[in-house]
Amino acid sequence: MSSLADSVTITTSNVRGQRHWLLDASIRVVKKPVGLVSALVIGVLVAAALSAPYVAPFDPIAISIETFQAPNTTYFFGTDDLGRDMFSRILHGSRISLYVGFLAVCLGSLGGALVGLISGFAGGWIDMVIQRIVDAVLAFPGIVLAMSLVAVLGTSTTNALLAIAIVIIPFQSRVVRGAVLSVKQNVYIEAAQTIGATPQRIMFRHVLPNVVAPILILISASLGNAILIEAGLSFLGLSTQPPEPSWGLMLSGTGRRYMEEAPWLAIFPGLAIAITVLAFNLLGDVIRDVLDPRLRGT
């Protein structure tokens, strides 16, 4: 009985000891001070975005006669030329930035991972053709490609999101392909082939789990960039359209027009973008350190 109890204890402790690597990595990320602070900032931003309709003191698109109010206790970030509360607009703007950032990066990474996986795993002419297409897409400056795609799809937040996702695909696919080529050399792949596993099974069950780390590193590094591209497209009038409250749009419209008379219109939306992107970049650095120990401290 006692030996059975011992074995049960041992088994349980083994299960406990073998914590999923992703959970383990997350714990290591938040144990670092920079990781914790940036994760907290992102947490606050996500909470603000989700609760914006309930916590924003005013309707973000409601016009009032209180135009150009400097920041005060009623209007924390002041009001714009149409008397709209800037604090409420920035809170609602976080919804657009985070929605576009997260979804564009997820879609782009998914697409890129699939392309990279197929290219690296198949090899031969399939790899050659895919890589030439990737080369061609990489020859476009990202913003020009995004601009052209938005022109084709039409100017809207969702179309900007799709355009950013397409811009991310070639970068992600290159990284995944490189990782796949290295994983393919391992003996366990050869073993899987020997026991007759189908190429699809080898690709998704044996190769994919081993290239998740570089995918996650690139996702964390791309989030800030995706938010910056969206803000840039909004600034150029190619993403979210007025009167929707987008951070980039706020800066390009009233922010720049009334820069001298009402500097808060330019300061707060830009600050919101900078803090958000900074938090994502810092978290990305910590995730990279944790998932790729070779780069730790570099």
Binding site: P141, A231, V277, L278, D285
Partner: protein
């Protein structure tokens, strides 16, 4: 070496053909066409007149015919004429390219001046106050949108000095002082953002090289730390940094669109943006093709420069 260059140039041809097909297809997928865009500016035309206008511009022909016609001319450097003002596309691109290239070169000079010393100090003094300061400076640079940085700079100049720089472009050879005055602020902003990327790369590359055996050997020989860093470590650490600059140069030609818009500069990015908005197919196709050629050439120059920095690299 010559054989290598020729082989590299030949291998770029399929990519350039693909770029041309992608951009040619993309612009034709844009809803509406230049005729509709022109009408949107004012005026009315019935179906017959619209068809006549499309026939005159040659945009009613089948896709493949249009592509072959355009491609055969493009190989000879003839990108056609703008559908809006009828001006030949290539001279317009060349004119706009001067502005973007000047900003790019100025920005690269500024960023090299900031990034390399900062990256080296950061690596040599790893995990000390200067290192933390340099890393913070870099990550802030990566996180601030360039259009906000530009707006804040203009705001600071207006509020504190009561002065604004010249807007627009003045050719360097005709009016150097106004030219520099107009371009220095855009170049500073772009340069700062570039230095953020480059200093991070210099730092990580230096850290890797400083752990190499030959650096330890140099130290044990009793060489001065300065000589070790400059002659032994930095030279070897520069290869990834140069790769970044090669990529950035081509990116900047189109990627400066936002900065060009803020400072009213007639560069390549704005040319591409206007072409997208006005459905000016020949201009957009020509601009993207020139950017792609520059991208390929810049990457080739970067690859060749490796051999200059590291004599162990030989091209066959």
């Amino acid at each position: 070496m010559t054989e290598y260059i020729i082989r590299r140039l030949l291998s770029a041809i399929p990519s350039l053909v693909l770029v041309s097909i992608i951009i040619f297809s993309l612009v034709r997928l844009v809803p509406g066409d230049v005729v509709m865009a022109r009408l949107a500016e004012g005026g009315y035309a019935d179906e017959e007149q619209l068809a006549a206008m499309r026939a005159e511009l040659g945009i009613d022909r089948p896709f493949v015919t249009q592509y072959v016609d355009w491609g055969s001319k493009a190989i000879r450097g003839d990108f056609g004429e703008s559908l809006w003002d009828g001006k030949p596309v290539l001279p317009t691109i060349v004119q706009r390219m001067r502005v973007s290239i000047q900003i790019a070169i100025m920005a690269i000079i500024i960023s090299v001046g900031i990034a390399i010393p900062m990256g080296v100090i950061s690596a040599v003094k790893q995990d000390t106050l200067p290192d933390y300061g340099a890393r913070l400076f870099a990550i802030i640079g990566l996180s601030m949108p360039d259009f906000w940085l530009a707006t804040m700079l203009l705001l600071a100049l207006t509020l504190w000095i009561g002065w604004l720089p010249e807007f627009g472009y003045f050719p360097l050879w005709e009016d150097p002082s106004r030219n520099l005055q107009a371009l220095i602020f855009p170049a500073l902003i772009v340069g700062y953002r570039l230095s953020a990327t480059a200093s991070r790369m210099t730092r990580s590359s230096m850290l890797e090289v400083l752990r190499e055996d030959y650096v330890r050997t140099a130290r044990s020989k009793g060489l001065q730390e300065r000589t070790i860093i400059v002659r032994h470590a930095l030279k070897n650490a520069l290869i990834p940094v140069i790769t970044i600059f090669g990529g950035l140069l081509s990116f900047m030609l189109g990627g400066l669109v936002v900065i060009e818009t803020i400072f009213a500069l007639p560069g390549m990015g704005r040319l591409a943006l206007n072409a997208v908005l006005l459905r000016d197919y020949p201009v957009l196709q020509g601009t993207v093709m020139v950017m792609a050629v520059i991208f390929v050439t810049a990457n080739l120059i970067v690859d060749l420069s490796y051999a200059v920095i590291d004599p162990r690299i030989r091209y066959q």
